[in-house]
Structure formats: structure tokens, C-alpha cells
Amino acid sequence: MRNITAIAQRELNAYFASPIGYVLIGFFALLFGHFFYVSLWFFERQSMQMGMNPTQSLNMNQMLIGPALMNTTVIMLFLFPLVTMRTYSEEKRSGTIELLLTSPITDIQIILGKFFGAMTLYAAMLAVTLIHIGLLFVYGTPEWKPIVTAYLGLLLMGGSFLSLGLFISSLTKNQIVAAMATFAAFLMLWVISWMSSMFGPTASAVLQYLSIVEHFDDFAKGVIDTKHVIYYVSFMALGLFLTVKSVDSERWRG
């Protein structure tokens, strides 16, 4: 455990010793701010229209918070390759991988350390969005439970993306290659459900299931379905497992 924390700390250190951490959080804040503003503007306009007809009232969770948080997945798609690209590639390029692999720690500890380091950075990004949500509590009365499940869903989905990015970074010395390949993989997982209408009902169900984003919908609605939790957790486990295997095979190939 001490080893994992040490590696995770070092990862965080690396993000914030260079401009990367600040730039990522800054742009995340900027983009999320924009999405939030747009969602808020629509919500406001619809509320005005609804105001004419007082029999119905708008649900702030469903109409505003859900879509705004859903939009962070788009930001993840673009920013996460930049988070994970250096995790292994940089160590390989600079030779520090020799230090890690000859230290009395297991590959799994190294990988988990890196994963938790990246997750902490991601959590810091998400923390920015709490400011916006907090403002809603000042001026309105949203329900807090669906917000908590949405954040849980975001963490799980982010973790899945990060584990995949970690794996891709372990395959190459070149950070640009790592970032591009990660972006392509994320995009494929994102759009895979769009193809579902092209095939029969069985294939369509499979493709829908594979899509990493589809599983988030229920979380945003305030539902914790074990089906989705299992999907994300097994996705993360697979990503980390592949990373372990990739690092191990790298040893044999030298």
C-alpha cells in the first residue's frame, strides 16, 4: 500500500510540477463552465415558458444537472489522452522505468499507483464542477441524491477511460502516438452505439452494451444499476490487467 501511495504521489507531483495539471484543470473548468452556462440558459428559457402554464414544474436534476454532467464525457474524450499519454511513455523514454522495475515492488503496485495518481487528478477536475452545482443549491432546490449517483457514474466512467489510456501508454515510448491512439480508442468506444441501427437486434444490443457512455445514463437519472457498475468495474480491471501484461511482455522482449 505504501508503495502504491508513493507512486501515486509521484504521478501527481509530475502533473503539477509541469504545466500539464494546471492546463488540464484550467481547460476542463473553461469547457465545463461553457456547457453549464448553455444548459442553464436553456433551462431558464424553458422555465419562463412553463411559467405560463403553472400545472407543471421543471425538474432541475433532469433538465439541467444531468445534461451538464453528461457533457463532461465529451471533455474527457479530449483531455484524458493528455492525462495518460505520459504515464508509461515518459518513464520508458527517460529510463526511469529501470528504477521502477528493479525496485522491490510488483508491477501491479506500479500500475495501481499510476492509476490512482491519474484518478486523483481527474477527481480534482470534477471538484471544479462542484462550484457550479453548489450555486444551484443557492438559487434552487435540486435533489442531492441523483447528483451523488451522477458523480459516482462519472468517476467510474473516467476510471474506465483512464485504465484504457494507461494500457495504450504502456505500449509505446512516444507520447504523441500514445495520445493519438488513446483518443482514437476513446472515440470508437464513444460512437460504437451509433452503428447499432445498422445491424440486427442482437448485434445492436451488443454494440449498445459496449458503448462506454450508454452506461452513464442511469447514473445521471439517479439510478445505481449493478449492471452498469459491473460494466465499468470490469472495464477498469481489464484495462489494468492488459497494462500488467504489456509491462510484463516488455520485460521479456527487452
Binding site: R2, S18, S94, G95, L101, T102, P104, W252
Partner: protein
Amino acid sequence: MIEVQHVSKKYGPFTAVDDVSFRAESGEILGFLGPNGAGKTTTMRIITGYMPATEGKATVAGYDIFEHPLEAKRRTGYLPETPPLYPDMTVREYLRFVAKIKSVAGNVNDRVDAVMKKTWVADMANRHCAKLSKGYRQRVGLAQALIHEPEVLVLDEPTAGLDPKQIIETRQLIRDLAGTHTIVLSTHILPEVAQTCQKVVIINKGKIVAIDSPDALTERLRGAVTLFVQAQGPADDMQRALQNIAGVVRVNPADVRGDVSSFDVDTETGADVRREVAAAIVRGGWGLLELRPMRMSLEDIFLSLTTEEIESEDLAAEAVVVDHTDGGQANA
């Protein structure tokens, strides 16, 4: 204690290390000599558990590196060819990090301070690794290898990139460490081996060429002395004149430029023929431009070894003699 038994490492059809066996006793310094690409780094990476061997077995401090990697690694300090520094960390932060992952028991700060003092990097404690000079990087790398007080130290070219004063200090440090540590170091500098090591393993093309004490090795190199002679005059006449001097074994023309010729003169062991050579040139009425004993560098020996495909240990001794010509050409 380090024991390497019949270790081989293959990359597809390419064999980097071929059936290498050697042993370093506790408290001993073993020097690993060889040209670049000989398999020194690969062997060291196998001993340190960075990569597994294709065949054979390596035991470090009583633990098989493949069967019990964590136990073995806990007892090994490793300085790779490029010191594995994180540019974004200060020296102190970096050493604290290494101390943690090497599971240093007790007070980490005290240990970091002690090791920084030992390797003379304390004055750079708060400087970022990216901003260190090559010499400091190398010494921080050494500090990193020492931090968990390992029984076994594996140092890949520990003095590369240091200035002469630092080289002397580092060698002294390595000698001081020897009593309590088993040390394997690689180098291609012969005097370094002579000054620091008790045992020398010479490796070429992945195979061990010789295992010997440095004294025996140096003796082998001193066996015959070669003189480098450059003179102005007819090349054939001069060569004949040199050949006739008593104590000269062989005269090899090295270079002819216009009427200036260079020769490598191999002499018998213990014979100093410099006076006779000078006299012979003057007697012929030619102009003596240069006369000096040739220094042998280990790299020269390996150059001849690799070009002539000599692999057995017995032939290696002869290669030393043959090598004088190659060395001469390189110098001329």
C-alpha cells in the same frame, strides 16, 4: 554474493548474452569489461531483475532473481547507464521517493541526508534533477542505488561523465563500500578496473572471453612493448634498419605520407630499444620525427578481438600482441 550460472539472453535470432557464468563473493568488487554492445548492460539488467534471462539462473544475496524477485531486489542497488532521475523532482524529493519504493525502514529523512552526504550531492539537495550537471546526475544515481543499504551493488559505468576529481572520489567511494557490499561494475576503462576491482570479467559479443584478476590482466598487456616511430626517409631502408636492431620482434609499417613513414615496432619483453632505434635512424641519415611507447587501451584489444573473431581465452592473449598494430593505426 552474486552468482550467475549459464545465463543467456536472446532477442529473436539475436543472442545478446551467450552462456555467461561468473561469481562475485561477498565484499568483492567485480569489474565487467567489454566494448559497447558486448552484453554488459544486458547481463546487469538480468542480475537486477529488470528483465528475465532466456536461459540460466542468477542468484543475488542468496535469492534467485526470477523465483524471489522482491527479496532479491530489496538487497540490490542498481545504477543504470543513464541515471533514472525524474527531471521534475528535486534531489531530496527524488531520494525520498526512491527510499519509499525501496522500502527503507526507519527515518527516511535521516537516510536521505546520510546518503546525500556520502555521495557529495548535499549542496544540490533542493535543485531539480533536470538542472543537474552530468556529474551530479551520476552521483544522485549512485545515491539512489545506495539508499536502502543493499548488500549487492550493480553499477553500469559509474564513472562515465565525471570529471577527473570526481572519478577519483567515486572510485574511492566504491572501494570504501566494498567491505560491506558485493559490487559489480561495468566499464571500458582499464585503469579503473586495475584500481578498484579484485576480479575482472571480460565479455565480448555476449560471451565471456576471460575471468582474471586485474594484475594478471595488466601483466598480460605489458608482456610486450610496442614503439611508435615516425621518421623521414625511404620507407624500405628504414624498415630494414629497424628490423636489424637486437630486441625488435617485428616492424609493421603503419602509415606512409610522402617521405614520412610511421612504424609500429614490437619489442621483446623487458627490452628497451628506444636508444638503439634513435641511433639507427640517425646513422642512416634520416630524420627522426617521433618516437614513443604506445599505450594500450582496452578498446583497442576489443577492436582486434571483434574484427578477428577470436573467441577462446588462449587466443585472446595473442590478440593483445596483434592489437599493437591496430592501436598504432588508430593513433597515427
